[in-house]
Symmetry: C2
Subunit: 205 residues, 2 copies
């Protein structure tokens, strides 16, 4: 691929990468046997942790659900239509936001002494801010998992039950459940659905 | 770079791309003169539109703020500390979610006839669902802008004022304001802040 072609399509990454991250990547719902290691997940995290968040608060957390016992605890807190997917995935991540993210701000925001104390008294503001930034980070993470050659199947869980079961003590709140598989062991059963055009989704003023 | 090195770092994309998308990319706050075209923004949209959303609802919308008149209307609805940044950026995007996303579901979810009607009577559920998926899409978009060789400066606006000024008639709700610049015309004034380690942000069970 030449630079001319890249410029013509308006991207600065090559076609194979654009395909891998977005264009041909599909949400997967069925999984052949495959392995996803904690080392791979850590590599993904170490890539996407650099993505911007409000004030560098970095509130995204992830529960890596791997053992059969932990998996069944999660399956019981998923909507019925998603239970088999969680049961069959090589590994499942429960993405969450940390309502106590301020405890890390002395380290994360050294340019703003006092940031921690500023948030300490306002749990409502923390929850709103953490949820917003962590969802944006969930977008980074989905791209990052694909950048590691993995396949993803994001879906929703029953979060009040998930929070009570897994996060009663650490202040995390569930946001999204993501099945993860090696790409060559994963598939989807559905034809790709259309998307909106730029002109449908954007206005220029 | 060899495949062995790629495997060692756990990623399936090359180092230069990992740097461009995450590792060396920085949130920019100062801008030399540069141009960002609607064609570039459309190319970014056409890349990231493929990212997964709940039920393929695809609720992210963007207002591309380009003219001096439109820019001043936005500047007046930004917190004081962000006003100069918006004034000086080549182009600014107001990312939003569409509370009327259900109007597009016959097209977006052809495999679920009746999806549109299912949502038509529940504005509260639509708003919650749209906000959640659109924030994840905002994460895709930030990565996509960088994939097009652009530099981004995400920040928050005063959304009740932004919604009243720009979105009174179309049902969009502001989520995030993103300055966009050609990468070589953009910079930041702050040393890079630390991030949490995988072991701080993840638990394995």
């Amino acid at each position: 691929m030449t630079d001319t072609v890249l410029e013509a399509q308006g991207l600065a990454i090559d076609d194979a990468t654009a395909d891998r991250l977005f264009r041909t990547a599909r949400t997967v719902t069925t999984f052949a046997e495959s392995e996803v290691t904690d080392e791979q997940l850590a590599a993904v995290y170490d890539l996407v942790k650099w993505g911007p968040t409000a004030m560098n608060t970095s509130p995204l957390r992830m529960l890596v659900v791997r053992t059969p016992e932990a998996r069944e605890r999660l399956v019981a807190r998923m909507p019925e239509g998603n239970q088999e997917r969680v049961r069959n995935a090589p590994v499942t991540l429960v993405l969450a936001y940390d309502t106590d993210f301020h405890e890390h701000l002395d380290r994360l925001v050294p340019h703003m002494p006092g940031a921690r104390d500023m948030f300490a008294g306002d749990a409502g503001a923390r929850a709103e801010m953490a949820r917003t930034s962590a969802l944006i980070q969930a977008g980074y993470l989905i791209v990052g998992l694909r950048a590691a050659g993995l396949a993803v199947g994001p879906m929703h869980g029953i979060y009040d039950q998930i929070d009570a079961e897994f996060f009663a003590e650490n202040g995390w709140k569930g946001l999204l459940v993501v099945n993860v598989s090696a790409a060559d062991g994963a598939d989807t059963t559905r034809p790709r659905a259309p998307r909106l055009n730029f002109d449908d989704a954007a206005q220029v003023i």
